[in-house]
Each structure stands twice: as C-alpha cells, then as structure tokens.
Symmetry: C2
Subunit: 308 residues, 2 copies
C-alpha cells in the first residue's frame, strides 16, 4: 500500500541512509538535527552539516506535514477542491543542498516528494541537479549517464523528458544562464500515460537511492584538485548566482516562504557566503569564461559540444 | 510644465549632485559610469562605487525609459489601457543603495520615480529607508526627525502615512523582522486628496534633495566607531537579510527582473558579500540581540521605546 505513512517512512529512512553516507564521505563534520512541528499535524527533521572537510554548508531535510488545506496552498497548487469539506492534505519529502568547501567540487541538489489530499488527488515530484563552480564536461557526462541509467530502468521516456524539464526549471532568466549542468526534474507524476502509482513510486525511490553514489563520484573526482584565491573568489560569485536562482525563481522556495514554512529549513539551501561584484566580466579564454559558455539549455551532456 | 522631459532632466541633475556629495564624503573611491540603452527608447546612466573608505559597494542609478507599453508591464502595474492604441509609457527615476565598509555605518536606500502613459495616467513614487547593522536608537530618531521635517514642509499627513507605509513595505515576513529602522515609502502619488501635480513633484524633489545630508549625518556619527571580527561577521549576516528582502519581497526588484530590465543595474542593490549560518541565535543581552529587538513595525522613532 503506497500512502502517506509508507511513503513518509521510506523518506525518513532515505534521509538516514544519505546522512550516513555523507558523513562517511566528508570524514570530518557530522549532522546536527532539529526536530520541528508543523502548526497542524506532522513536522520535520532538519539535518544540517557545516564546516566539513568536503561540505562547507549543507542540509538533508525530511518533512511530513498535513492537516486542513490552507486556502493559499489550494490556490498555489491549483488543486480541485471538489465538494469535500474540510479538505485535508499531506506533503512529505526529502530535500538536499550541499555547498562544498573546494571550488572544484560542485554544489548538488536533490529533492523527492509526495503530495496527497483527502479527496484522492496525489502526485510525486523531485529531481537532482548539479552546479559545478567550474564545469568539467566529462564529469557532467558521467552525472547525466548515471541519471539516464536510473531513469531507463523505469521507462525510456523519462530521461529525455526530465532532463529537458530540468534545463527549463534550473534556469536564471535575468542572467540568461542555466544554474549548472542540469540533471532531471519532474513534478505531478500521477497514474497517467500507462504508469501506475506503483511505477511512479518505484521510480522516485530509485532517484532517492541514486543520490549518494552520484554525489560521491563527483566528490572523489574533484576533491583532490588544486585551487587558490582566484578560484575561491569565483566560487563566491557562483554562489551568488545560486542565491539569485533560489530566492528569485525557485518555485519550491517561494512556495515554502509564502505558505509560512519553516524558514531555516527552507533557506538551508543558501551558501555560507556569497559575493557580488558589479558587472563582473570573466577574462577571455579563462576557465571561468569556459564555465559560462557551458551554462546553456539543451546541451546533450552524453555527447557534449558547446552551443554557440 | 511637469512632464517626462523636465522630470527626467531634474533626476539626472540629482544623480550628479548626489554622486558628487558621496565622493566627497567617502574621500577615497569614485563612481564608475555605465551608459545603457533601453530596447525601445531612452536608457540609463548607472554609477557604481566600490571599495571606498566608507562605502564598500553602492550604486546611484538614473534611468529614463519608454516606448510601447509591454503587456507584462500593463498587467503588473494594473494600468487602465483605455482604448488608446498603441499605448506608450515613460518611467524615470533615481535609485540608490549604499553598503558600508564598517558594520557601524548603516546601509541606506533611496528611490524617487515618475511614471506616465500616453493616455494621461501619471504618478510619483519613492522613499528613503535606513538599515543599520547595529540599531542605534538615537540615530534612528535623528533620521526620522529629518524625514518628518522634509514631509512637514509639504503636508502634515505625509510623514505619519509614509512612515507606516515604509514599516509595511520594508518588512521580511519569513523572518518576522523589519529590514531596518524604516523611513518613508510612497507610491502612486497623483492629483488626489487636494494635491496638484505641482505639489507632488515639489515633495518628491525635496525627498531627493534631502538624501545626501541625511546619509552624511549617519556616516559622520558612526564612521569613527570601533569594530572587530565579531561585528564584521554580524554585518555579513545582516547583509544576508538584505539579500533576502530584495530578492524575495522587493516589488521594485521583482518588477525589474520580470520586465527584462538591466540586471546589473537592478542588482547593484546586493552587497559585496553576504553570509548565512543555519539557525543563527544572537546571545542574550548582546548588541546583536538588541538590534533584533528593534526590528519591529510600529516603533515611533521620534519617541522610541521597545515594543515587547
């Protein structure tokens, strides 16, 4: 039976497994846990890691909240309330953002979530995307190959569709840049197009389970790379872009702040430090400029080439 | 005759006078100028100052743009297009944000603006508000007394009304904090409530003219105060809140980014550096906690007392 109890229990376990894996990978810092209550029923278990060997600041948050459907939520989600009175909802998920110490190690984000209402509406959503401070096309390729394998085990249509969705979602219009090298993004996966609830849930579990290994590979390939002051400065500018995306454009963040969510858990996605310089221009032919050249929608990372 | 030409010319002159005054006050850094064109008609003159003795990063921007009314603008402004075809608009203003080197010196913001359409709609808007990293009630009092004097020379109703408007506008709902000690804010001032266009314009000019002296006084009273690493860390956290306000809640920033404005000019409001620490708690009885206690709506700064 796939319902709010079984799904949220599994998400709780996923949070545990991922935190264990990340602590092992980091080798220095450990997670601090905050438990909090939602004003109606349920609550969350926020876990934050700071000042690690690999991770500068990151969060792995579980939440499972429910109760009477707030009017604002009804409006934002455009849910059909039907005639059920009072309509109740339940939302549960795991959200992760990890900011790295080294500018050579990418920022990563993962989310898996489930939503249901008492009148029988339900869906799954989620995604994983990678934001390197310096784009390394070979590593972006391996990241996308990994995601494609996760998707392909469920349906051949998933990867192309969800990769394109991520390109469009993780995009910063006012900079005309993608946030990073993308990944997969999906929302409102229901029993449609021949998929059952069992199918959708199995896929979402696979995405959650894939996260730790995908990230570990990125870290192992980059943590030993050298960097100096110039790379650290660039990292802070790129973190500024991450802040801009999350605060201006990310629907999840907006949604959380507008529905009176727990601010510290929502904003765990922000970096330890971000810088802004007026009208920064990367030097021609620099590594920084090469990264900017890669921040485009529509790159097929499995057979990558620059889009001019 | 008060129209787009006379108003924008006056704003251009105001920018010149303020930049001159700020360079003199800073004594070290000077403004760099960027001229840019709007895709239709007009454009802007952005002036940015960085790494000064007093000012760490700041902008004093003039713009005067117009042309065919974009549908998005019509929708955001909720303007009655009437039957005029094609409807054209003109918007001009001066916007200022100054981030200080010293955590003892406040951040300040000022904006004066004018908008008109070819079918006879027009209004003025603007405001000045102060964001100390450490609230010093005596200086907040002097700031508000100065603003009240500017307002009172035009109408007794202005200060109380516009002070309350600023309290509500410069507010960070997800932190339950005001951005700073407020100031005045006003929008859509038209020929209403017995005021003429001449009256409104005279008031907006007074606000623009008052800025440099109000800021100079704050700087002179605070630039010599000592600070150390702890105060610098706190400053970066407060700058983080400034980023959160501007990117999540400020309608001017949203409006600019959504209507495809010049990104670097809009985001000149962001600080050189901002930090985030998960669930930061100020120590009881610290200067930091005292500042948080002052960040409330509804404080009468001219006769201040803490609102419990």
């Amino acid at each position: 039976m796939i319902n709010k109890d079984t799904v949220s229990e599994w998400f709780r376990g996923l949070q545990d497994r991922i935190c264990g894996s990340l602590e092992q990978l980091d080798g220095k810092a450990t997670f601090k846990e905050d438990n909090w209550d939602y004003h109606d029923t349920g609550g969350g278990r926020s876990r934050v890691i700071e000042n690690g060997a690999v991770i500068a600041k990151g969060g792995v948050n579980f939440s499972g909240v429910g109760g009477a459907m707030p009017p604002k939520l009804l409006q934002l989600l455009k849910v059909d309330a039907g005639s059920e009175e009072p309509l109740t909802f339940f939302a549960t998920g795991v959200s992760i953002v990890l900011h790295s110490q080294s500018p050579q190690v990418p920022i990563i984000h993962m989310n898996v979530r489930y939503f249901e209402t008492s009148n029988g509406i339900w869906w799954f959503g989620g995604g994983i995307d990678l934001t390197p401070h310096y784009v390394k096309p070979d590593l972006a390729k391996e990241f996308h190959e990994g995601l494609e394998a996760v998707c392909a085990a469920h349906d051949a249509s998933y990867y192309p569709k969800f990769k394109e969705w991520a390109d469009n979602y993780f995009y910063i219009p006012h900079r005309e840049e993608t946030r990073g090298v993308g990944g997969i993004f999906f929302d409102r996966l229901r029993a449609t197009d021949g998929f059952t609830k069992v199918d959708r849930w199995a896929f979402v579990q696979s995405v959650g389970d894939a996260f730790a290994d995908l990230y570990r590979h990125q870290v192992e390939q980059t943590r030993g790379l050298p960097y100096g002051q110039a790379e650290l400065e660039w990292q802070k500018l790129r973190r500024g872009r991450y802040v801009e995306f999350n605060l201006v454009w990310d629907r999840g963040t907006k949604f959380g702040l507008e529905t009176n969510g727990r601010t510290e858990s929502i904003l765990m996605s922000l970096p330890p430090q971000a810088n802004w310089v007026y009208d920064y221009q990367a030097a021609a032919d620099s590594e920084e400029q090469r990264t900017l050249d890669w921040l485009k929608k529509g790159i097929d990372w499995k057979d990558y080439q620059l889009i001019k």
